[in-house]
């Protein structure tokens, strides 16, 4: 019962509750020299198709570990995660992963970077090329297809990274503090764009961050995680209407939600230390 939804979800964005990711008793224990370390205590969580879920918490709360297990990049120590009813045992091409760094290949142009997954899949053809150009257009890089990464700003590099992921049309987008290295203004712009694009495409997003207001502003649900041991301490529904606008952050309701998250974060830390 680590994760519990505190009130019935309004399904404001999620398509009438069709589950896409089901996490059951998922946990991770690392064996290190001094003995086993619980990185993540058993988590139960169901994420619906098209839902935007933020995971917020301080370092060491297991949020990245959880994301890596859902990505199939890290084996679970206990429990399981399922994608469309199938247990996740290895990475899936239906799941896109975005990292804190853009991870662009400096010897490839923007378009070549975006088409790299298609090369790996063996699906690079005129159709994927068209798709890549369309996605680059959508993230505002239509004029930069032939530029090299070094010619782009940090924000633009992350746009390329986003375009690379969107081009192979994943159902689920896993984001591990994707804009954490960007400045405040760029990050805000990127967040708004991310919401617009993923909502339009009906992509389910799992968004890891340590920024509370960002987590609340973007999500349909915020999963609050606390460290030592890493665990889910609470889940809060966010029923602000979409599309989200910056003005919503000035409302009393937003402030209340932030305090609610802070409350749960504080409790978790008091209990464990």
């Amino acid at each position: 019962m680590a994760a519990q939804t505190q009130k019935p979800a309004p399904l404001e964005r999620a398509a009438q509750g069709v589950p896409i990711i089901e996490i059951e008793g998922l946990g991770k224990t690392f064996a290190i020299d001094t003995g086993p370390v619980v990185a993540l205590e058993s988590v139960d969580l169901t994420i619906r198709k098209g839902e935007f879920v933020s995971f917020v918490g301080p370092s060491g709360c297991g949020k990245s570990t959880l994301l890596n297990m859902v990505a199939g990049l890290l084996p679970a120590s206990g429990g399981q995660a399922m994608l469309n009813g199938d247990v996740i045992e290895e990475p899936s091409r239906k799941v896109g992963f975005m990292f804190q760094t853009a991870v662009l290949l400096p010897w490839r142009t923007v378009e070549q970077n975006v088409l790299m997954p298609a090369e790996v899949f063996g699906t690079k053809n005129e159709a994927t090329r068209q798709k890549a150009r369309k996605v680059l257009e959508a993230v505002g890089l239509g004029d930069f297809t032939d530029a090299y990464p070094r010619q782009l700003s940090g924000g633009m590099q992350q746009r390329v990274s986003l375009a690379r992921t969107l081009t192979y049309e994943p159902d689920v987008l896993l984001m591990d503090e994707p804009f954490g290295a960007l400045d405040e203004f760029t990050r805000e712009a990127m967040n708004l764009e991310l919401m617009r694009i993923t909502q339009a495409a009906g992509i389910t997003v799992l968004f890891v961050t340590h920024n509370i207001s960002e987590a609340v502003f973007m999500a349909d649900r915020v999963v609050i995680m606390t460290p030592r041991p890493g665990k889910v301490s609470g889940v809060i529904d966010i029923d602000f209407p979409r599309p989200r606008v910056i003005e919503q952050m000035q409302s009393q309701k937003f402030t209340d939600l932030i305090f609610q998250v802070r409350g749960i974060l504080g409790h978790g830390q008091d209990n464990s230390s």
Binding site: L105, L152, S153
Partner: protein
């Protein structure tokens, strides 16, 4: 169109040299100035009687000896022999260094077993093998080629290994997340990523190959530029010794600039990979 306007606020970083052209020119002039000062001192020291011309012939005497040497019939034979030893030794050394480096990087078990041996081998000053190689492979070119290979493969090996292992963890995770095969990851990410470091090793290998060939010739040879150096030293024709040194320096510098040019062509993104 509205989508694009949000982006235009972000400036495109321009790739510009960080020193202004005037300063660049000034540094070049300093370099040339120092070179000219050395040549002038070299020219004057024997002329003023500060050193005996037998020990240090003047710069102009060396140039004279060089011109004479280049006109000799036997010169081309010695030049070709040494150049062949260097080129074959360098190519083989690079190929061996690359192969072992790649093998150790992609096969962790092999690395665990062989790496201590490789490091141990590197600790030996390999020049001491030269007499041994003469005994094993004779006075001909093969003993010099082996010497060049043995001292030139190591920088390529170690740089290949280090370069391949320095691929960022996120890049590996990205490739795993799209289910890339190990070969795809190697070709599309690891090898290009390691290329600048590998190239630095290859450049070092060229210098070592020159040393290997010459040392081999010093120890035992009947032809080659190293042999000529020994010969002229014994005849106390120091001007000719210097002339051969100039030729060897030219071979080394020529090869280096060739590699440097190839490096720039191949690794056009270098500025970026170093600033990140």
């Amino acid at each position: 169109m509205a989508k694009i306007t949000a982006v235009e606020a972000e400036p495109v970083k321009t790739v510009s040299p960080y020193t202004n052209p005037n300063q660049e020119l000034r540094y070049k002039l300093y370099t040339i100035g120092i070179l000219l000062a050395i040549v002038a001192a070299w020219e004057m020291a024997p002329r003023l009687g500060l050193v005996s011309p037998i020990i240090l012939p003047s710069f102009s005497a060396v140039i004279g000896a060089l011109i004479t040497l280049l006109q000799q019939d036997f010169f081309l034979r010695h030049f070709t022999v040494t150049l062949t030893e260097i080129v074959i030794g360098f190519i083989l050394g690079t190929a061996i260094g690359l192969s072992i480096g790649i093998a150790l990087a992609v096969w962790p078990t092999a690395k665990r077993i062989a790496y201590p041996l490789v490091v141990g081998f590197q600790a030996i000053p390999k020049i001491v093998f030269a007499p041994l190689f003469i005994a094993w492979f004779g006075f001909g070119m093969s003993s010099k080629v082996v010497m060049a290979v043995v001292i030139s493969f190591f920088p390529v090996l170690i740089n290949t290994l280090v370069g391949l292992e320095s691929v960022p963890e996120d890049a590996r995770r990205l490739m795993r997340s799209i289910k890339a095969t190990p070969l795809q990851t190697f070709r599309k990410v690891s090898l290009p990523h390691a290329l600048p470091v590998i190239f630095a090793g290859i450049k070092a290998a060229l210098t070592f190959a020159v040393i290997g060939a010459i040392v081999g010739e010093f120890v035992g040879a009947s032809e080659g530029l190293g042999y000529l150096v020994e010969l002229y030293k014994n005849q106390l024709r120091i001007d000719r010794v210097f002339a051969v040194i100039v030729i060897l320096a030219t071979i080394g510098a020529g090869g280096y600039f060739l590699l440097e040019w190839l490096d720039r062509k191949l690794i056009f993104w270098r500025d970026d990979s170093e600033s990140k």
